[in-house]
């Protein structure tokens, strides 16, 4: 009886605006938290995730794909790439088809804006965006990556399968204007979508 009375007389003053907010807040307390406890729980990165670019390694010929053609240097909006090229010794001995090869490659990750233009414009598919997002170091000079570091990181990326061999990718880009890219960048909902209700 009391409950009925209470509902009848007090529900109307209670059920207005602000109280709805209070109960919505209370409802949230029974849902699963959305927090990702970062260092212990690693975020699930998308296949297309872009951290700084790294260089790939041609395992067939055992040399980098990069020929030092400078296009990445030219297209880079923040001028963080410095490249120089040299004659390829393996071309003379006919091990490789690359006449020129990268001599030195410097990437200043401190200024890199991870835009992916260098990857887009590379003609030799020699550069790829890594997923190395936690790039903090204790000295800024350590953020300047040289050729060796970039190639090592690139090898890691290749092992992770974040990069497809150039033969297919190059033809893909050629036909990009006509056809839909069959790039299998599978699931896009990479971050987990925690179910709302408890």
């Amino acid at each position: 009886m009391f409950t009925a009375l209470f509902l009848f007389f007090l529900w109307r003053p209670i059920s207005l605006g602000t109280t709805t907010g209070l109960f919505t807040a209370l409802k949230h307390a029974f849902r699963r938290p959305v927090t990702l406890q970062y260092p212990t729980e690693q975020p699930l990165l998308a296949p297309r995730f872009m951290a700084h670019p790294v260089l790939t390694w041609d395992f067939e010929v055992d040399e980098p794909y990069c020929t030092g053609c400078l296009i990445c240097m030219k297209i880079c909006p923040t001028d963080v790439i410095t490249v120089s090229m040299k004659d390829n010794e393996k071309f003379a001995s006919e091990e490789s088809k690359r006449r020129k090869i990268v001599d030195d490659f410097k990437l200043d990750v401190a200024d890199c804006i991870m835009c992916g233009l260098c990857v887009d414009y590379c003609n030799f598919d020699a550069i790829v965006m890594s997923d190395h997002f936690d790039a903090s170091v204790d000295n800024r000079s350590n953020l300047v990556h040289d050729l060796q570091t970039l190639l090592e990181e690139g090898k890691g990326q290749q092992e992770k399968g974040r990069w497809s061999p150039p033969a297919t990718k190059k033809s893909q880009r050629r036909s990009a204007a006509q056809a839909k890219t069959p790039d299998p960048s599978s699931s896009d909902e990479t971050k987990e979508q925690p179910s709302e209700e408890k």
Partner: protein, 163 residues
């Protein structure tokens, strides 16, 4: 305010209407890449703006932006106007000679010209005569030079890498 009660002009009609409204003033009215371009003398700018805003057929009540373009030999102040009732757009271009970078302020016509003009003064050194406050808006006080101009060299800063 809705668009229902007003005529929607075609491009030609609008051009003709603008010409008719600006009858007495010496201007060039011609299409300018999808908008209606009006090129006028710098002494006429306030009167033209007033007419364009107050005329009910044109009613350019919305000043979209004021841009300054540095053509090295001269500066060009470009006013982009728009009418919300008619959905028509006008570009007014005014040439300001480099020796005498002065143009009348249109702040009396649109209050929204305020910061656009101050910005133009900051970056290009164009003085908008009649603007109540020409103090630096974007740059700090005491900044030397006009960074918007083509002649301005962006100082190259070496990246500091610590030890």
């Amino acid at each position: 305010m809705s668009t229902d009660n007003f005529n929607q002009y075609t491009t030609e009609e609008f051009e003709a209407a603008t010409r008719a409204v600006l009858g007495n003033i010496k201007v060039t009215v011609e299409p300018n890449f999808g908008e209606l371009g009006v090129v006028c003398d710098r002494s006429d700018i306030v009167s033209i703006c007033k007419i364009l805003k107050q005329d009910t057929d044109i009613s350019m009540e919305y000043l979209r932006s004021i841009s300054v373009v540095d053509w090295v030999e001269h500066m060009e102040v470009v006013y982009h106007l728009s009418s919300i009732r008619h959905m028509n757009r006008i570009v007014i271009k005014v040439v300001v000679p480099i020796e005498d970078l002065k143009i009348d302020s249109v702040i009396t016509v649109w209050s929204g010209a305020d910061w656009h003009e101050r910005e133009g003064h900051d970056l290009f050194g164009v003085e908008f005569v009649g603007h109540p406050d020409m103090s630096p808006l974007i740059l700090y006080e005491g900044f030397e030079g006009f960074p918007g101009r083509k002649s301005f060299e962006i100082p190259v800063q070496e990246t500091f890498y610590g030890d």
